[in-house]
Symmetry: D2
Subunit: 355 residues, 4 copies
Amino acid sequence: MLLYRFIIEKKIIVQKIGIVGATGYTGVELLRILAVHPQICVHAVTSRSNVGTRVDAMFPNLRGFVDNVFVNPDDKSLFDCDLVFFATPNGVAMKGTQVLLDKGIKVIDLAADYRIKDLSIWKHWYGMEHASPDLVESAVYGLPELNRAQIKDALLVANPGCYPTAVTLGLLPLVKNGIADFGGIIADCKSGASGAGRGANVGTLLCEAGDSFKAYNVGGHRHQPEIAQTLSLVSGEEVDFTFVPHLLPMIRGIHATIYTKVLAEHDLQSLYEDFYKNEAFVDVLPAGQHPETRSVKTSNTCRMAVHRLPNSDKVVVLSVIDNLVKGAAGQAVQNMNLMLGLEEILGINVPGVLP
Amino acid sequence: MLLYRFIIEKKIIVQKIGIVGATGYTGVELLRILAVHPQICVHAVTSRSNVGTRVDAMFPNLRGFVDNVFVNPDDKSLFDCDLVFFATPNGVAMKGTQVLLDKGIKVIDLAADYRIKDLSIWKHWYGMEHASPDLVESAVYGLPELNRAQIKDALLVANPGCYPTAVTLGLLPLVKNGIADFGGIIADCKSGASGAGRGANVGTLLCEAGDSFKAYNVGGHRHQPEIAQTLSLVSGEEVDFTFVPHLLPMIRGIHATIYTKVLAEHDLQSLYEDFYKNEAFVDVLPAGQHPETRSVKTSNTCRMAVHRLPNSDKVVVLSVIDNLVKGAAGQAVQNMNLMLGLEEILGINVPGVLP
Amino acid sequence: MLLYRFIIEKKIIVQKIGIVGATGYTGVELLRILAVHPQICVHAVTSRSNVGTRVDAMFPNLRGFVDNVFVNPDDKSLFDCDLVFFATPNGVAMKGTQVLLDKGIKVIDLAADYRIKDLSIWKHWYGMEHASPDLVESAVYGLPELNRAQIKDALLVANPGCYPTAVTLGLLPLVKNGIADFGGIIADCKSGASGAGRGANVGTLLCEAGDSFKAYNVGGHRHQPEIAQTLSLVSGEEVDFTFVPHLLPMIRGIHATIYTKVLAEHDLQSLYEDFYKNEAFVDVLPAGQHPETRSVKTSNTCRMAVHRLPNSDKVVVLSVIDNLVKGAAGQAVQNMNLMLGLEEILGINVPGVLP
Amino acid sequence: MLLYRFIIEKKIIVQKIGIVGATGYTGVELLRILAVHPQICVHAVTSRSNVGTRVDAMFPNLRGFVDNVFVNPDDKSLFDCDLVFFATPNGVAMKGTQVLLDKGIKVIDLAADYRIKDLSIWKHWYGMEHASPDLVESAVYGLPELNRAQIKDALLVANPGCYPTAVTLGLLPLVKNGIADFGGIIADCKSGASGAGRGANVGTLLCEAGDSFKAYNVGGHRHQPEIAQTLSLVSGEEVDFTFVPHLLPMIRGIHATIYTKVLAEHDLQSLYEDFYKNEAFVDVLPAGQHPETRSVKTSNTCRMAVHRLPNSDKVVVLSVIDNLVKGAAGQAVQNMNLMLGLEEILGINVPGVLP
């Protein structure tokens, strides 16, 4: 097979990108997207335990598109990059960010190290002391539909969690306009198993997580404070927010079913359509429809519908994303484009795969 | 292969059972259970469009266990039965029940013809005039955990819907004890695709419903009034009840995630355990656990957990069933056992299949 | 919830059964079947790493049916048993069998320790020295359709592998009658992921094995010599047998597609039907049909079809089993029934679950 | 949401493309690929039964990328096109091709109307008289790895079937070099359910085809003569070719397991690698590996491995494709690129999606 990389490399500028910890699902998804991105090249891919292995030996879908070899996280090639992604477990980026920033390299963390502004809350949910507390404040929360301007100027971006992306986008039009009842918002969320990562684990075996459905962490999940933080920041109020995640017997996709009330009469359909009319990656369905997770599979789109229940002040918002794309790697590339001064949609302007 | 039917037919009494319309998933599930039930025999199985076909030619899992041949719904063998199940679409049982009752044959309808007491509500949701309105009042709603005594004496039982079984059992301890806030109960429910039946339909093709997840009928679903009716009857109050169903990319299983508030301090774990301590088919998990649908697959058990959210009056109840068993055929057999004076658990006292 | 165990325990005799290593899929399947077996009780369940844990805490489908607690493999309760199953990894039973036999306890090994008669072949494929070579010869290969008489008298039974059960049953009528061409039999086999066990493993994660299909071990698989051994023993000839296994994106089920030639004209349909006409667990489909794995899901049936290709000497046999039932635990119970003098079908005479 | 079409339409040339019958899985896949193809635009999309409906109302994954509205097959916009795809059932293209060719419009048929050169064989397998027998001979079989030069000059291309693509590419190196034993090649093939199309059909419901596996058409399948024709044309000999298809419980993907013998010693690994070294869409894995269907999901790659069995003349070739891409729409676009003088890989040079 020919190597496409060289076929397509009529690329003109090409900024250099590094990925720390590219052996999980977020990593391979980043590589898949970046492999055909027209204006960057993947310069360094690190994995402490796979040094010397070709990346496409681990992920054969990338054969023909990627010829990188895993290097050590302290390999000097990483320091030649313009921007580095951390696709690592929580607690890794916070130890490696400063050294990159010091060299003028921009950083996007796909984990949770820089998402929560209140360090005591972060410590409570993530169970460790923060290693670079000073960076937390300056980090920009990388939800472009909320913080586009700040992201463009950011040196460090905290890429949002998958559930928070789906839920926050679903609520923004209500919350920004101050028309949701903050007294009791419920997000009943469902995620495909890729959200649990690529680690060997009995609970996510095909024979355990397949052909079944369950809730988990009903008593508390790390994404609750992340979402609550954004809702409070946007609304300027304390928000009473309940979050229950569930595990779907499939690989990709998040569906958030959000329950709230509106305080007065509003044309919610128009409100939502107007709110997102200039967004490339948020699609409000026509009134009465229901988004399917498969309609966004492999795409960077968040697709949603807003339902006012008949004769009621209750509102149900349905919001779907591909957790690995808009919920992780795709949104990270969207942030990268903004940070590097590229067109925001570059490399991620493709439709979802259906069926 | 030997025919088990004759191997195992050391059955002693053997009452005769008929099934009208046994070509759907509820029908084959009834046949699967009844084929090895120790004290009944399946005497007549009807299907207008399959007269003369062996039942096991349509459902090869039954080969060796069932030697019935489909007959016409007016075949006289049906009138020899002690009890007849209607496993037909809505609107069929209401036309065929009276003639059976007149002959002293007991009837269980697995469809919705006799579930809703208010005929105007029924007509609104099912889109037709009721053909036997007089029978509606006398029909007993076949949820044994609620109406056991009446079922034992009933001539006509309305087998509950699948969602209503999971949701109602999940709420009964709170509602019967009057400690739920009736101002806003939400049931976010998820069902496997077998709930949609065996009809040829683009929407439930493997390539459409597989590997995806969506809500449907957010604006209104027939099971909402069924559940609301029971909650109101039990509580004696009007209940503000929101119901949103979703389609899971799997075959069997319903998971109800129920959100409510409690009005005062209660030890909910003990309340639930005590409430169901004598029930054979309701299992309350230890505190803090989450039931998986697979734990009840092929069994007649409803498994649940009750979670009080930390520092909050909010309660989340998780309730799972196999929609074809406790949500349909298994519960119907449970009702049959009660109506025929048999031991309630006969033929359905088997554990679920895992994995 | 009531405990069924005591509800149903109107059992009369009740022989005592032990299970060594019941934490895998074979173990939970044995427990599921034995929990409602009318004439045995599960007396001891061992797991070195789970001593003191209730079995139903690990497998919640068994709640209400099993009240055993895991004990150590050297717990004396094991020595009170009439028969002990080893549901352990390869290499464990060979160390623990003799001590049980010495106490008059019968043994069934669900792993491969006693399947291969030629110790050098065994060592080659299983990568270890055999710890009890003397027992290998006396062990009976537990395929009842082949060795029923010997099993009845056996003290030690080697339960066949899952693939070998499906393939061997599919070939027996041809091989026993000497009408297959032994010059080139091919078995292209496909298995659900439960065959790979319950160990934490990246390769069998939902996100790795789900929604995909692949062959594995094309260069050689342990079940090849097991099948070849039986074919040679039955035919008295060397058999040129090719075996290629594949992994299906589902949990239960094996499908063997077997290619061979017949040396002369034969009515293969009658041959197969006659061959198995007295077998309770082998079902030959009518001519021209194709068995589905789902038709045997959760049942002990092997369902098959034999196709003579048009104008050709080629024969294609299709054979399906549930790998955890007829391919493991169900067949083990069938062997147990024979060894304990019980009716062969006891506890396993139930139809498969469909859909 | 913004419409990407206009964002990205900095396209320069833009030839006009029509699609007849774009309501099936092949159609939506063509639209997905063509929506972001840099040098064509989709000008006309026909569907007799959906005239006036927006295409993205049927396929919401295309929202933002496609603003076409279904038109009648005789709409004049179709006649403005440079090239028209038929993504219709068998028997449609043969009636509509000539009128397009007469207007100088090139045609690619994704169905089987022009694949079989022998009209009597075609009639036997497709059960109808051919409506344009004269075109059959001039039609080029659109397997670029075999017929690239002819495709470039073709006015009418018969896009190969999905199974034939996987099997033929797997066998070409052996057959072209005359080193396979033509006395008995077997292809045991497995396909995801999307191969069965989007029609409402009980057999491909999630509850029927999901969580199960079966062979079908063992007695004869239409792709057998298509493959045999190519093998004979290439080898110049009659080939004894057995083909058995199976249905996988997943949506996309074909896996062919091909059994043959080689007549002498050859370094098959080098043979295969050399044979395909200049192909962009055929990837030969390193020795000893096994391709997974998921490694090619959504991509136009055929990935394969060749295994010589130890101490044997037997060869097993494993070949995987995405049946909707390299097996249908992707290969059709590859052919389109060749026919229109575009770079062959344009619009399809993207890696597969994993997981």
